[in-house]
Assembly symmetry: C2
Homo-oligomer: 303 residues x 2
């Protein structure tokens, strides 16, 4: 099954203790698509300005990513993000951000994408996520990401969206902020009650927690590594691995066994992307790298 993603395309400048990568390609839809494309065909929906220095067709060359939903908007400027990481690199500091084209109207869903069944709405204003969702004919498995900004300022729109989709992925700080629950299991249980099939809480170096509406639970640690160079895109790559796997096996949102495997695929993919800046880790990677990492992860947690 093909998988639609809508999210950002960015010009990133990222500084970590391992160096700085200036004006490199980033953005949620880009990281997601690259990760998911190892597992399933991807339909890409996003918008850049006419200043964009990257040719996305080149970026995704050789990958099964359909760029029919890529809009290059005349007179607009591409989204830019300048961020840095320190210490354990669990949290990004945003040093500068220019929303540019992301503050304008979202791209239209092309006719050829309107029958998409698996959908990932990367983080943006929940009203925009809803607007994009409404352009689809009959999606059967929709997952969204969100962020602290919308949890604080657009809670009603976010809650309305949650009533229309199957699952939410968010990080641990956001789960706590959303619910006021410090305990993450309690927080996830509260969020899932807002009409979802399941919630995934991303905990960075500590892994992920998935809770279903029936209180079934999957937990995985992150792949243990000291080879982290740049965590940018880890969350979107995780989501790409997770959704890519689910679409590849035509999974239902309530199939707990497939959700467990999806969580593992997301974990494996995320553990790879952070080993280098931007998309660099993918230049020589193949599906076998993901499978090897899955096998390692399985070995590391078995008892």
């Amino acid at each position: 099954m093909s998988l639609l993603v809508t999210g950002s395309i960015g010009i990133d400048t990222v500084t970590t203790p391992f160096g700085t990568s200036e004006n490199c390609i980033g953005g949620s839809a880009v990281y997601f698509s690259m990760a998911a494309s190892f597992l399933t065909p991807v339909r890409f929906l996003g918008v850049v300005g006419d200043d964009c220095p990257f040719d996305l067709h080149e970026v995704f060359q050789g990958r099964d990513v359909d760029l029919a939903g890529l809009e290059v908007r005349k007179g607009s400027k591409t989204f830019r993000w300048c961020g840095s990481y320190a210490g354990a690199m669990n949290d990004a500091n945003t040093d500068a951000v220019e929303l540019n084209v992301l503050a304008e109207a979202p791209p239209a869903v092309p006719d050829a994408f309107q029958d998409s069944q698996y959908v990932f709405l990367a983080n943006t204003h929940p009203a925009l996520q809803m607007q994009l969702l409404e352009q689809l004919k009959s999606p059967r498995f929709v997952v969204a990401d969100t962020m602290n900004l919308w949890i604080e300022n657009e809670r009603d729109a976010l809650v309305a969206l949650l009533g229309k989709i199957d699952a939410l992925v968010l990080n641990e700080g956001e789960a706590r902020m959303f619910t006021g629950q410090e305990n993450l299991v309690a927080a996830a249980k509260e969020i899932v009650k807002l009409g979802l099939e399941f919630v995934v809480v991303k905990k960075g170096e500590h892994g992920t927690l998935l809770i279903t509406k029936d209180n079934q639970c999957c937990v995985l640690p992150a792949y243990p590594t000291d080879a982290v160079k740049d965590p940018t895109g880890a969350g979107d790559s995780f989501a790409g691995g997770m959704m890519g796997y689910l679409a590849s096996v035509n999974a239902q949102p309530n199939d707990i066994d497939q959700l467990r495997k999806a969580l593992a695929h997301g974990t494996a993919v995320a553990s790879l992307v952070i080993e280098d800046f931007s998309l660099n880790r993918w230049s020589n990677a193949a599906r076998a790298d993901i499978d090897n990492r899955l096998a390692e992860l399985k070995n590391i947690i078995q008892f």
Copy 2:
């Protein structure tokens, strides 16, 4: 194989968001012994003052805990700890502490305990840990705990101890402090090089990480629960479950398969003790509760 533990016996007053437990029994050796006793016979070495309101024989009634190493010291006062937890309850705040008898000479190892093979040196001054170790004839599997105070102020004594034992357990903040490495895998790899077979990093609600001197790795998440009432003793109970299992199967310190199972037993035991204040959770618990928790944990992480 029987297992020797030496550590504290305390009169604790603990406050969490779920209430306050005043003057209840606590201490590292107590939590450790209770946990380990479900898995293997325990030899208990510790000292209280003659003011101690608890009869340890009563506390451990029906458990296979040999109290031949319990000293009630005349004219001394029992260790007291007053602590509290807030938020996600990952870190204890020490509100008041009276070392009392713990600041005096340690208890002597009784003749009957000197042939102990499996040994856990709960957190105390590393010079005292060394002194206790030197009283044993030929221990074959010795693990110690430590804390920030000794890492900061008694590094030489601690490093000397690590050259004489098989493994160290410490929490994530301590591992970072010890090495200056923010990445926990890097930190654990650095610590294990100080002459150890393996290191276990405890991450509270995020689980545990074990690294061997050959860079083999086991990682387990904590059992996901929103039923946490009091995390006091979780780390010592984890160690009790881990060492209790290792002693019960007569494991070697370099047996990675047994270390994986030991980590799981520690995780299961710790997940139980935190469900109530002090030792209350154990009043009606049996080995079957630990086995059930192990099975649940296995299911939750499988993919």
